[in-house]
Amino acid sequence: MIPSDHFVRFYNEVFKYLDRRGLLQAYFDDIGRYAASRNLEKFRKGGLQAVYDYYLVIRKEENCEMDMELRDGEYHQRMNKCPSLSKVLDNDASASPRYCLHCPGWTLPVYTAAGLYQVYNLKEPDQPHCESWLYDDPKRALARYRELLKTVPASQIRTNLPKALLEE
């Protein structure tokens, strides 16, 4: 058995293997389907509050150093020390340079299906921190996206806002 404590180091090996074969995005899509099977209905019914409640459990069980705030139709999450990437970096095996992409890789499709809009700042992929904002109103997500673009390169941002809205 791979201990649940060590799952992310196995995950990292899977990412490296699949990345060499051009299958990483297909795997992120698969993770999204798996996550949806467990969470989509909760997120659809409960909206931002359900996502906040989900991350309360994750913050505790996964030992995240993370600030969370749900206020006035916005869920803001600031990961100060990601336990997942921290373990992958504290590892005798090398880290996948695309490790961080798995998070928006699964959240964006699940939030899209739940009718929620995420703006995700990946920051530096070799540092265990990131920041995201979630809304049920696409216009507020668009405003956040545009605000973020003033200080961060577009390549560092992930969002599930519709293309048509981004190009307006």
Binding site: M1, I2, H6, E13, I58, N91
Partner: protein, 148 residues
Amino acid sequence: MLRYQENNELHRNFHGSTDNAMRFVEKTCGMDALREVLRTTGRDVYKSIREKLARGDASELIEHLTWFYYRENAPFKLEVSENEIRFEVPACPAHVHMKKMGLEPTPFNCLQTEEVNAGMCEGTPWTSTVEHIGPDHCVQIFRKEPSK
């Protein structure tokens, strides 16, 4: 001493994620690929255990097995002799937790134990096998070539 000191909260749902990752690799790349990824995990992630085994020191392997099964609340029986370690787990904690989640482990879920253990032993005087006694019950066996 353990290379990876884990002693805080446990997120057991990762057993489901491990199983899902195994399914994906097997489905897209085949069983040999899955064996390779698992064996690489054993060899590279657990480099510290492997290097100690190569020097004839099984202390970290024994500590790894006992600490992480203890952390998962799994009963186990450990027998250690000069050239053999037998680690019996009557109710695999990964399978027990997945069933609580309403998930059925893949038929090849136990490959994670077989191949990760084999990776830890790669290039050392030790070999590993797994005796399957029941669907969730196994004995992990590590044997060392007797010193000449």
